[in-house]
Symmetry: C2
Subunit: 241 residues, 2 copies
DNA sequence: TCGTTTTTTATGGTATACCATACTGAGCTA
DNA sequence: TAGCTCAGTATGGTATACCATAAAAAACGA
Protein backbone atom coordinates (compact mmCIF):
# COMPACT_ATOMS: atom_id res chain seq x y z
CA UNK A 1 0.00 0.00 0.00
CA UNK A 2 2.72 2.41 0.93
CA UNK A 3 4.68 3.59 -2.08
CA UNK A 4 6.46 6.90 -2.17
CA UNK A 5 9.12 6.02 -4.75
CA UNK A 6 9.13 7.73 -8.10
CA UNK A 7 9.19 4.87 -10.56
CA UNK A 8 12.63 3.66 -11.64
CA UNK A 9 13.29 2.53 -15.24
CA UNK A 10 11.92 -0.97 -14.74
CA UNK A 11 8.21 -1.56 -14.76
CA UNK A 12 7.12 -4.43 -12.54
CA UNK A 13 6.80 -3.49 -8.89
CA UNK A 14 6.45 -6.93 -7.38
CA UNK A 15 8.88 -9.57 -8.55
CA UNK A 16 12.63 -9.99 -8.53
CA UNK A 17 15.00 -8.26 -6.14
CA UNK A 18 16.00 -4.75 -7.01
CA UNK A 19 19.62 -5.82 -7.36
CA UNK A 20 18.69 -7.95 -10.37
CA UNK A 21 16.91 -5.08 -12.04
CA UNK A 22 19.85 -2.81 -11.39
CA UNK A 23 22.16 -5.47 -12.74
CA UNK A 24 20.28 -5.72 -16.00
CA UNK A 25 19.90 -1.98 -16.19
CA UNK A 26 23.62 -1.33 -15.88
CA UNK A 27 24.63 -4.26 -18.04
CA UNK A 28 22.27 -3.15 -20.74
CA UNK A 29 23.68 0.34 -20.54
CA UNK A 30 27.15 -1.06 -21.04
CA UNK A 31 26.07 -3.31 -23.89
CA UNK A 32 24.36 -0.42 -25.62
CA UNK A 33 27.45 1.70 -25.23
CA UNK A 34 25.78 4.20 -22.93
CA UNK A 35 28.42 3.50 -20.34
CA UNK A 36 31.74 3.46 -22.13
CA UNK A 37 35.01 1.83 -21.24
CA UNK A 38 36.79 3.84 -18.60
CA UNK A 39 33.62 5.44 -17.23
CA UNK A 40 33.44 5.48 -13.49
CA UNK A 41 30.30 4.03 -12.01
CA UNK A 42 29.63 5.88 -8.80
CA UNK A 43 27.42 4.05 -6.40
CA UNK A 44 25.72 7.07 -4.92
CA UNK A 45 25.02 8.61 -8.30
CA UNK A 46 23.50 5.43 -9.68
CA UNK A 47 21.48 4.95 -6.54
CA UNK A 48 20.19 8.49 -6.68
CA UNK A 49 19.37 8.20 -10.37
CA UNK A 50 17.36 5.07 -9.74
CA UNK A 51 15.82 6.31 -6.51
CA UNK A 52 17.14 3.43 -4.49
CA UNK A 53 19.85 2.93 -1.92
CA UNK A 54 23.46 2.04 -2.55
CA UNK A 55 23.04 -1.53 -1.37
CA UNK A 56 21.41 -3.08 -4.43
CA UNK A 57 23.62 -0.98 -6.66
CA UNK A 58 26.71 -2.39 -5.02
CA UNK A 59 25.37 -5.91 -5.37
CA UNK A 60 24.73 -5.40 -9.05
CA UNK A 61 28.20 -3.98 -9.52
CA UNK A 62 29.78 -6.97 -7.84
CA UNK A 63 27.96 -9.25 -10.19
CA UNK A 64 29.13 -7.24 -13.16
CA UNK A 65 32.63 -7.40 -11.80
CA UNK A 66 32.68 -11.17 -11.73
CA UNK A 67 31.60 -11.10 -15.36
CA UNK A 68 34.49 -8.76 -16.16
CA UNK A 69 32.31 -5.92 -17.31
CA UNK A 70 33.66 -3.64 -14.65
CA UNK A 71 36.65 -3.58 -12.34
CA UNK A 72 36.68 -2.59 -8.74
CA UNK A 73 39.82 -0.81 -7.70
CA UNK A 74 40.04 -1.25 -3.94
CA UNK A 75 39.30 1.96 -2.09
CA UNK A 76 38.92 3.57 -5.48
CA UNK A 77 35.72 2.55 -7.11
CA UNK A 78 34.20 0.82 -10.05
CA UNK A 79 35.03 1.57 -13.65
CA UNK A 80 33.78 0.05 -16.88
CA UNK A 81 36.55 -2.19 -18.09
CA UNK A 82 38.95 -1.05 -20.74
CA UNK A 83 39.29 -4.00 -23.00
CA UNK A 84 42.26 -4.22 -25.29
CA UNK A 85 42.05 -5.62 -28.77
CA UNK A 86 44.28 -8.48 -27.71
CA UNK A 87 41.91 -9.37 -24.94
CA UNK A 88 38.98 -9.53 -27.32
CA UNK A 89 41.02 -11.73 -29.61
CA UNK A 90 41.75 -14.01 -26.67
CA UNK A 91 38.04 -14.32 -26.08
CA UNK A 92 37.44 -15.09 -29.73
CA UNK A 93 39.79 -18.05 -29.40
CA UNK A 94 37.81 -19.33 -26.44
CA UNK A 95 34.56 -18.68 -28.22
CA UNK A 96 35.67 -20.64 -31.24
CA UNK A 97 36.55 -23.62 -29.13
CA UNK A 98 33.37 -23.59 -27.07
CA UNK A 99 31.06 -22.82 -29.95
CA UNK A 100 32.50 -25.75 -31.86
CA UNK A 101 31.88 -27.97 -28.91
CA UNK A 102 28.36 -26.67 -28.50
CA UNK A 103 27.25 -27.23 -32.06
CA UNK A 104 28.93 -30.62 -32.12
CA UNK A 105 27.05 -31.65 -29.01
CA UNK A 106 23.87 -30.18 -30.38
CA UNK A 107 24.16 -32.17 -33.57
CA UNK A 108 24.89 -35.34 -31.64
CA UNK A 109 22.23 -34.96 -28.98
CA UNK A 110 19.38 -33.34 -30.81
CA UNK A 111 16.07 -35.13 -30.31
CA UNK A 112 12.80 -35.22 -32.18
CA UNK A 113 11.15 -32.48 -30.18
CA UNK A 114 14.09 -30.15 -30.56
CA UNK A 115 14.22 -30.90 -34.27
CA UNK A 116 10.66 -29.67 -34.50
CA UNK A 117 11.65 -26.47 -32.76
CA UNK A 118 14.59 -26.10 -35.09
CA UNK A 119 12.32 -26.45 -38.09
CA UNK A 120 10.03 -23.75 -36.80
CA UNK A 121 12.86 -21.39 -35.97
CA UNK A 122 14.76 -22.06 -39.17
CA UNK A 123 11.66 -21.12 -41.08
CA UNK A 124 11.32 -17.93 -39.09
CA UNK A 125 14.94 -17.04 -39.67
CA UNK A 126 14.59 -17.71 -43.37
CA UNK A 127 11.68 -15.31 -43.48
CA UNK A 128 13.85 -12.71 -41.79
CA UNK A 129 16.57 -13.55 -44.29
CA UNK A 130 14.22 -12.76 -47.13
CA UNK A 131 13.07 -9.46 -45.69
CA UNK A 132 16.02 -8.19 -43.69
CA UNK A 133 15.00 -4.57 -44.13
CA UNK A 134 12.16 -4.93 -41.66
CA UNK A 135 14.61 -4.90 -38.77
CA UNK A 136 17.43 -2.50 -38.09
CA UNK A 137 20.97 -3.81 -38.12
CA UNK A 138 21.11 -3.84 -34.33
CA UNK A 139 17.78 -5.55 -33.80
CA UNK A 140 18.59 -8.04 -36.50
CA UNK A 141 21.79 -9.01 -34.78
CA UNK A 142 20.23 -9.23 -31.35
CA UNK A 143 17.18 -11.14 -32.48
CA UNK A 144 19.10 -13.65 -34.56
CA UNK A 145 21.75 -14.24 -31.93
CA UNK A 146 19.16 -14.73 -29.27
CA UNK A 147 17.27 -17.33 -31.23
CA UNK A 148 20.41 -19.06 -32.38
CA UNK A 149 22.01 -19.28 -28.95
CA UNK A 150 18.82 -20.49 -27.44
CA UNK A 151 18.42 -23.25 -29.97
CA UNK A 152 21.98 -24.47 -29.78
CA UNK A 153 21.89 -24.27 -26.03
CA UNK A 154 18.73 -26.30 -25.84
CA UNK A 155 19.93 -28.92 -28.29
CA UNK A 156 23.39 -29.33 -26.81
CA UNK A 157 21.92 -30.15 -23.41
CA UNK A 158 24.78 -28.51 -21.59
CA UNK A 159 23.42 -25.61 -19.64
CA UNK A 160 26.73 -24.53 -18.26
CA UNK A 161 28.19 -24.35 -21.73
CA UNK A 162 25.24 -22.35 -22.93
CA UNK A 163 25.65 -19.86 -20.13
CA UNK A 164 29.34 -19.46 -20.76
CA UNK A 165 28.75 -18.83 -24.42
CA UNK A 166 26.11 -16.24 -23.80
CA UNK A 167 28.34 -14.48 -21.30
CA UNK A 168 31.32 -14.48 -23.63
CA UNK A 169 29.25 -13.19 -26.54
CA UNK A 170 27.75 -10.45 -24.43
CA UNK A 171 31.23 -9.55 -23.37
CA UNK A 172 32.51 -9.32 -26.91
CA UNK A 173 29.48 -7.39 -27.97
CA UNK A 174 29.88 -4.92 -25.16
CA UNK A 175 33.46 -4.10 -25.93
CA UNK A 176 33.42 -4.09 -29.68
CA UNK A 177 30.55 -2.33 -31.34
CA UNK A 178 30.97 -4.59 -34.25
CA UNK A 179 27.76 -4.37 -36.16
CA UNK A 180 27.91 -0.61 -35.88
CA UNK A 181 31.06 -0.60 -37.93
CA UNK A 182 30.55 -3.29 -40.52
CA UNK A 183 27.16 -2.91 -42.09
CA UNK A 184 25.91 -6.05 -43.67
CA UNK A 185 27.63 -8.20 -41.09
CA UNK A 186 24.35 -8.90 -39.35
CA UNK A 187 22.82 -10.37 -42.45
CA UNK A 188 25.96 -12.32 -43.22
CA UNK A 189 25.90 -13.69 -39.70
CA UNK A 190 22.31 -14.70 -40.18
CA UNK A 191 23.28 -16.77 -43.20
CA UNK A 192 26.06 -18.43 -41.24
CA UNK A 193 23.74 -19.13 -38.36
CA UNK A 194 21.29 -20.74 -40.70
CA UNK A 195 23.99 -22.98 -42.15
CA UNK A 196 24.94 -24.12 -38.68
CA UNK A 197 21.38 -24.68 -37.56
CA UNK A 198 20.54 -26.75 -40.62
CA UNK A 199 23.61 -28.91 -40.15
CA UNK A 200 22.79 -29.40 -36.49
CA UNK A 201 19.20 -30.16 -37.28
CA UNK A 202 20.37 -32.90 -39.66
CA UNK A 203 22.78 -34.30 -37.13
CA UNK A 204 25.84 -33.43 -39.19
CA UNK A 205 28.24 -32.80 -36.33
CA UNK A 206 31.43 -32.34 -38.33
CA UNK A 207 29.79 -30.03 -40.81
CA UNK A 208 28.16 -28.00 -38.08
CA UNK A 209 31.45 -27.64 -36.28
CA UNK A 210 33.17 -26.46 -39.43
CA UNK A 211 30.48 -23.89 -40.04
CA UNK A 212 30.79 -22.74 -36.46
CA UNK A 213 34.52 -22.26 -36.71
CA UNK A 214 34.12 -20.33 -39.91
CA UNK A 215 31.40 -18.25 -38.33
CA UNK A 216 33.49 -17.25 -35.35
CA UNK A 217 36.46 -16.60 -37.59
CA UNK A 218 34.40 -14.25 -39.73
CA UNK A 219 33.04 -12.51 -36.70
CA UNK A 220 36.57 -12.05 -35.47
CA UNK A 221 37.65 -10.61 -38.80
CA UNK A 222 34.73 -8.23 -38.80
CA UNK A 223 35.84 -7.11 -35.38
CA UNK A 224 39.45 -6.71 -36.42
CA UNK A 225 38.46 -4.71 -39.46
CA UNK A 226 36.19 -2.46 -37.47
CA UNK A 227 38.81 -2.00 -34.78
CA UNK A 228 41.45 -0.65 -37.13
CA UNK A 229 39.33 2.38 -37.85
CA UNK A 230 38.88 3.02 -34.15
CA UNK A 231 42.37 2.76 -32.63
CA UNK A 232 41.45 1.89 -29.08
CA UNK A 233 38.01 1.07 -27.74
CA UNK A 234 36.96 3.93 -25.55
CA UNK A 235 39.32 6.50 -27.00
CA UNK A 236 37.84 9.02 -29.34
CA UNK A 237 40.91 9.53 -31.49
CA UNK A 238 39.30 8.30 -34.65
CA UNK A 239 38.48 10.91 -37.22
CA UNK A 240 35.04 11.07 -38.67
CA UNK A 241 32.02 9.75 -36.87
CA UNK B 1 44.53 1.74 17.41
CA UNK B 2 41.02 0.81 18.34
CA UNK B 3 40.47 -2.88 17.98
CA UNK B 4 37.87 -4.73 19.97
CA UNK B 5 37.30 -7.56 17.52
CA UNK B 6 38.33 -11.07 18.45
CA UNK B 7 40.56 -12.06 15.55
CA UNK B 8 38.82 -13.75 12.62
CA UNK B 9 40.45 -16.70 10.82
CA UNK B 10 42.57 -14.52 8.55
CA UNK B 11 45.76 -12.97 9.80
CA UNK B 12 46.59 -9.64 8.17
CA UNK B 13 44.74 -6.71 9.64
CA UNK B 14 45.50 -4.09 7.06
CA UNK B 15 45.11 -5.08 3.43
CA UNK B 16 42.29 -6.33 1.24
CA UNK B 17 38.62 -5.71 1.91
CA UNK B 18 36.93 -8.00 4.35
CA UNK B 19 34.62 -9.28 1.65
CA UNK B 20 37.57 -10.86 -0.13
CA UNK B 21 38.74 -12.61 2.98
CA UNK B 22 35.25 -13.89 3.63
CA UNK B 23 35.03 -15.02 0.04
CA UNK B 24 38.17 -17.10 0.29
CA UNK B 25 37.18 -18.36 3.69
CA UNK B 26 33.83 -19.67 2.51
CA UNK B 27 35.12 -20.93 -0.80
CA UNK B 28 37.88 -22.79 0.94
CA UNK B 29 35.39 -24.31 3.32
CA UNK B 30 33.36 -25.52 0.37
CA UNK B 31 36.41 -26.85 -1.45
CA UNK B 32 37.53 -28.71 1.65
CA UNK B 33 34.10 -30.19 2.09
CA UNK B 34 33.43 -28.41 5.35
CA UNK B 35 30.32 -26.90 3.83
CA UNK B 36 28.54 -29.65 1.97
CA UNK B 37 26.10 -29.53 -0.89
CA UNK B 38 22.70 -28.54 0.37
CA UNK B 39 23.97 -26.73 3.44
CA UNK B 40 22.32 -23.42 4.07
CA UNK B 41 24.66 -20.50 4.51
CA UNK B 42 22.98 -18.09 6.85
CA UNK B 43 24.29 -14.58 6.64
CA UNK B 44 23.83 -13.67 10.26
CA UNK B 45 25.43 -16.87 11.49
CA UNK B 46 28.46 -16.46 9.29
CA UNK B 47 28.77 -12.84 10.23
CA UNK B 48 28.56 -13.66 13.91
CA UNK B 49 31.08 -16.48 13.57
CA UNK B 50 33.54 -14.15 11.89
CA UNK B 51 32.76 -11.18 14.12
CA UNK B 52 31.81 -8.97 11.24
CA UNK B 53 28.62 -7.54 9.86
CA UNK B 54 26.36 -9.12 7.28
CA UNK B 55 27.45 -6.76 4.53
CA UNK B 56 30.78 -8.31 3.56
CA UNK B 57 29.31 -11.76 4.03
CA UNK B 58 26.59 -11.00 1.55
CA UNK B 59 29.11 -9.64 -0.91
CA UNK B 60 31.19 -12.78 -0.64
CA UNK B 61 28.11 -14.92 -1.13
CA UNK B 62 27.14 -13.05 -4.27
CA UNK B 63 30.56 -13.67 -5.68
CA UNK B 64 30.29 -17.35 -4.88
CA UNK B 65 26.92 -17.38 -6.54
CA UNK B 66 28.24 -16.08 -9.82
CA UNK B 67 30.80 -18.86 -9.73
CA UNK B 68 28.01 -21.40 -9.19
CA UNK B 69 29.26 -22.55 -5.83
CA UNK B 70 26.07 -21.49 -4.13
CA UNK B 71 22.57 -20.59 -5.19
CA UNK B 72 20.45 -17.78 -3.89
CA UNK B 73 16.80 -18.62 -3.70
CA UNK B 74 14.99 -15.31 -3.67
CA UNK B 75 13.53 -14.53 -0.28
CA UNK B 76 14.85 -17.87 0.87
CA UNK B 77 18.57 -17.72 1.26
CA UNK B 78 21.81 -19.17 0.09
CA UNK B 79 22.58 -22.85 -0.12
CA UNK B 80 25.66 -24.69 -1.27
CA UNK B 81 24.85 -26.01 -4.69
CA UNK B 82 23.77 -29.57 -5.20
CA UNK B 83 25.62 -30.67 -8.25
CA UNK B 84 24.40 -33.66 -10.16
CA UNK B 85 26.71 -36.16 -11.75
CA UNK B 86 25.44 -35.06 -15.15
CA UNK B 87 26.36 -31.50 -14.42
CA UNK B 88 29.90 -32.47 -13.51
CA UNK B 89 30.13 -34.45 -16.71
CA UNK B 90 28.98 -31.39 -18.63
CA UNK B 91 31.81 -29.45 -17.06
CA UNK B 92 34.28 -32.15 -17.97
CA UNK B 93 33.30 -31.71 -21.60
CA UNK B 94 33.95 -28.00 -21.39
CA UNK B 95 37.18 -28.60 -19.54
CA UNK B 96 38.42 -30.97 -22.18
CA UNK B 97 37.77 -28.46 -24.90
CA UNK B 98 39.36 -25.53 -23.09
CA UNK B 99 42.30 -27.46 -21.74
CA UNK B 100 43.09 -28.66 -25.23
CA UNK B 101 42.99 -25.13 -26.47
CA UNK B 102 45.17 -23.94 -23.62
CA UNK B 103 47.96 -26.44 -24.09
CA UNK B 104 47.85 -25.98 -27.84
CA UNK B 105 48.25 -22.24 -27.43
CA UNK B 106 50.93 -22.78 -24.84
CA UNK B 107 52.93 -25.00 -27.16
CA UNK B 108 52.55 -22.53 -29.98
CA UNK B 109 53.31 -19.38 -28.04
CA UNK B 110 55.90 -20.48 -25.55
CA UNK B 111 58.96 -18.25 -25.47
CA UNK B 112 62.51 -18.66 -24.27
CA UNK B 113 61.91 -17.24 -20.83
CA UNK B 114 58.89 -19.43 -20.24
CA UNK B 115 60.80 -22.45 -21.46
CA UNK B 116 63.34 -21.77 -18.75
CA UNK B 117 60.56 -21.69 -16.18
CA UNK B 118 59.16 -24.90 -17.59
CA UNK B 119 62.54 -26.58 -17.24
CA UNK B 120 62.81 -25.55 -13.63
CA UNK B 121 59.28 -26.61 -12.79
CA UNK B 122 59.49 -29.86 -14.71
CA UNK B 123 62.55 -30.71 -12.70
CA UNK B 124 60.75 -29.92 -9.48
CA UNK B 125 57.79 -32.03 -10.49
CA UNK B 126 60.06 -34.91 -11.42
CA UNK B 127 61.58 -34.76 -7.97
CA UNK B 128 58.11 -34.93 -6.50
CA UNK B 129 57.38 -37.80 -8.86
CA UNK B 130 60.35 -39.70 -7.45
CA UNK B 131 59.38 -39.12 -3.82
CA UNK B 132 55.61 -38.86 -3.84
CA UNK B 133 55.33 -40.08 -0.26
CA UNK B 134 56.59 -36.78 1.09
CA UNK B 135 53.26 -35.16 0.37
CA UNK B 136 49.80 -36.38 1.24
CA UNK B 137 47.42 -37.27 -1.56
CA UNK B 138 45.55 -34.01 -1.16
CA UNK B 139 48.58 -31.76 -0.99
CA UNK B 140 50.11 -33.59 -3.92
CA UNK B 141 47.07 -32.91 -6.04
CA UNK B 142 46.80 -29.29 -4.99
CA UNK B 143 50.47 -28.55 -5.40
CA UNK B 144 50.80 -30.21 -8.76
CA UNK B 145 47.64 -28.68 -10.17
CA UNK B 146 48.65 -25.26 -9.00
CA UNK B 147 52.04 -25.42 -10.65
CA UNK B 148 50.65 -26.99 -13.79
CA UNK B 149 47.85 -24.51 -14.26
CA UNK B 150 50.14 -21.63 -13.61
CA UNK B 151 52.65 -22.78 -16.18
CA UNK B 152 50.13 -23.48 -18.88
CA UNK B 153 48.35 -20.24 -18.13
CA UNK B 154 51.55 -18.26 -18.39
CA UNK B 155 52.68 -19.96 -21.59
CA UNK B 156 49.34 -19.80 -23.37
CA UNK B 157 49.22 -16.02 -22.94
CA UNK B 158 45.48 -16.02 -22.57
CA UNK B 159 44.60 -14.81 -19.14
CA UNK B 160 40.89 -15.15 -19.56
CA UNK B 161 41.28 -18.76 -20.59
CA UNK B 162 43.52 -19.41 -17.61
CA UNK B 163 40.97 -17.95 -15.24
CA UNK B 164 38.15 -19.95 -16.72
CA UNK B 165 40.13 -23.16 -16.41
CA UNK B 166 41.03 -22.51 -12.80
CA UNK B 167 37.43 -21.73 -11.99
CA UNK B 168 36.12 -24.83 -13.69
CA UNK B 169 38.68 -27.04 -11.99
CA UNK B 170 37.92 -25.58 -8.60
CA UNK B 171 34.28 -26.20 -9.32
CA UNK B 172 34.83 -29.82 -10.22
CA UNK B 173 37.10 -30.30 -7.26
CA UNK B 174 34.57 -28.82 -4.88
CA UNK B 175 31.75 -31.07 -5.96
CA UNK B 176 33.55 -34.33 -6.48
CA UNK B 177 36.02 -35.31 -3.82
CA UNK B 178 37.86 -37.25 -6.42
CA UNK B 179 41.26 -37.82 -4.99
CA UNK B 180 39.65 -38.90 -1.75
CA UNK B 181 38.07 -41.81 -3.52
CA UNK B 182 40.66 -43.00 -5.98
CA UNK B 183 43.99 -43.27 -4.26
CA UNK B 184 46.90 -43.14 -6.63
CA UNK B 185 45.05 -40.79 -8.93
CA UNK B 186 47.12 -37.86 -7.78
CA UNK B 187 50.35 -39.53 -8.78
CA UNK B 188 48.87 -40.67 -12.06
CA UNK B 189 47.76 -37.12 -12.74
CA UNK B 190 51.25 -35.91 -12.00
CA UNK B 191 52.62 -38.21 -14.66
CA UNK B 192 50.05 -36.95 -17.14
CA UNK B 193 50.82 -33.37 -16.27
CA UNK B 194 54.48 -33.97 -16.85
CA UNK B 195 53.80 -35.46 -20.26
CA UNK B 196 51.81 -32.41 -21.22
CA UNK B 197 54.35 -29.97 -19.88
CA UNK B 198 57.22 -31.63 -21.72
CA UNK B 199 55.28 -31.62 -24.97
CA UNK B 200 54.39 -27.96 -24.52
CA UNK B 201 57.94 -27.11 -23.60
CA UNK B 202 59.10 -28.69 -26.86
CA UNK B 203 56.47 -26.88 -28.88
CA UNK B 204 54.66 -30.05 -29.85
CA UNK B 205 51.16 -28.65 -30.01
CA UNK B 206 49.36 -31.69 -31.39
CA UNK B 207 51.02 -34.03 -28.96
CA UNK B 208 50.32 -31.76 -26.04
CA UNK B 209 46.68 -31.49 -27.02
CA UNK B 210 46.36 -35.26 -27.25
CA UNK B 211 47.90 -35.67 -23.84
CA UNK B 212 45.56 -33.05 -22.47
CA UNK B 213 42.48 -34.77 -23.84
CA UNK B 214 43.62 -38.07 -22.42
CA UNK B 215 44.33 -36.42 -19.10
CA UNK B 216 40.88 -34.90 -18.78
CA UNK B 217 39.30 -38.14 -19.92
CA UNK B 218 41.13 -40.05 -17.22
CA UNK B 219 40.17 -37.48 -14.63
CA UNK B 220 36.59 -37.86 -15.72
CA UNK B 221 36.77 -41.63 -15.43
CA UNK B 222 38.27 -41.35 -11.99
CA UNK B 223 35.35 -39.15 -11.05
CA UNK B 224 32.78 -41.49 -12.54
CA UNK B 225 34.31 -44.46 -10.77
CA UNK B 226 34.39 -42.66 -7.46
CA UNK B 227 30.85 -41.43 -7.91
CA UNK B 228 29.36 -44.88 -8.32
CA UNK B 229 30.36 -45.77 -4.78
CA UNK B 230 28.76 -42.59 -3.52
CA UNK B 231 25.35 -42.44 -5.19
CA UNK B 232 24.77 -38.69 -5.01
CA UNK B 233 27.26 -36.07 -3.94
CA UNK B 234 26.17 -34.74 -0.60
CA UNK B 235 24.11 -37.72 0.42
CA UNK B 236 25.61 -40.05 2.98
CA UNK B 237 23.99 -43.22 1.73
CA UNK B 238 27.23 -44.89 0.81
CA UNK B 239 28.29 -47.74 3.01
CA UNK B 240 31.77 -47.94 4.39
CA UNK B 241 33.95 -45.11 5.66
C1' DT C 1 53.81 33.34 -7.37
C1' DC C 2 54.78 28.76 -6.34
C1' DG C 3 55.01 25.01 -3.38
C1' DT C 4 53.58 22.86 0.80
C1' DT C 5 50.37 21.90 4.25
C1' DT C 6 45.82 21.71 5.94
C1' DT C 7 41.02 21.32 5.32
C1' DT C 8 37.25 19.89 2.87
C1' DT C 9 34.84 16.76 0.07
C1' DA C 10 33.81 12.74 -2.57
C1' DT C 11 33.53 7.99 -2.32
C1' DG C 12 34.00 3.30 -1.13
C1' DG C 13 33.93 -0.06 3.06
C1' DT C 14 31.49 -1.62 6.90
C1' DA C 15 28.05 -1.75 10.40
C1' DT C 16 23.49 -1.34 11.80
C1' DA C 17 18.60 -0.58 11.60
C1' DC C 18 14.35 -1.54 9.71
C1' DC C 19 11.14 -3.90 6.72
C1' DA C 20 8.82 -7.87 4.36
C1' DT C 21 8.07 -12.45 4.03
C1' DA C 22 7.93 -17.19 4.90
C1' DC C 23 8.09 -20.58 8.20
C1' DT C 24 6.88 -22.42 12.86
C1' DG C 25 4.27 -23.40 16.46
C1' DA C 26 0.79 -22.43 19.78
C1' DG C 27 -3.86 -21.84 20.55
C1' DC C 28 -8.53 -21.89 19.17
C1' DT C 29 -12.59 -23.97 17.11
C1' DA C 30 -15.34 -27.50 15.24
C1' DT D 1 -8.35 -34.72 17.93
C1' DA D 2 -7.73 -32.49 13.52
C1' DG D 3 -7.36 -28.56 11.06
C1' DC D 4 -7.24 -23.78 10.74
C1' DT D 5 -5.76 -19.21 12.21
C1' DC D 6 -2.82 -16.06 14.00
C1' DA D 7 1.16 -14.52 16.41
C1' DG D 8 6.03 -14.93 16.88
C1' DT D 9 10.46 -15.77 14.92
C1' DA D 10 14.05 -16.41 11.64
C1' DT D 11 15.99 -14.58 7.69
C1' DG D 12 16.83 -12.22 3.49
C1' DG D 13 16.15 -7.41 1.17
C1' DT D 14 16.84 -2.65 1.49
C1' DA D 15 17.95 1.69 3.48
C1' DT D 16 20.80 4.46 6.18
C1' DA D 17 24.52 5.87 9.16
C1' DC D 18 29.19 6.13 10.11
C1' DC D 19 34.06 5.59 9.19
C1' DA D 20 38.48 5.72 6.50
C1' DT D 21 40.91 7.19 2.80
C1' DA D 22 42.26 9.53 -1.13
C1' DA D 23 41.62 13.24 -4.14
C1' DA D 24 40.66 18.08 -4.56
C1' DA D 25 40.67 22.56 -2.93
C1' DA D 26 41.97 26.12 -0.10
C1' DA D 27 45.03 28.46 2.86
C1' DC D 28 49.38 29.60 4.30
C1' DG D 29 54.30 30.56 4.11
C1' DA D 30 58.59 31.26 1.61
Amino acid sequence: MISETTNPPWTDEELSPIRDKVYFYIKDAILRGEFKAGDRLIERSLAQTLNISRTPVREALFRLESQRFVSTVPRKGVVVNEISRDEILEVFLILSSLESLAVRLAAQKIDAQTIAEFDREIETLERIQQNPEELGEQELHLEVNLRYNDLIGRASKNFRLHEMLVDLKDYVRAFSNMSKHTPGRALEALNEHLDILVAVRNGQADLAESYARVHIEKAKRAYVQSSVSEPEPGLENASGD
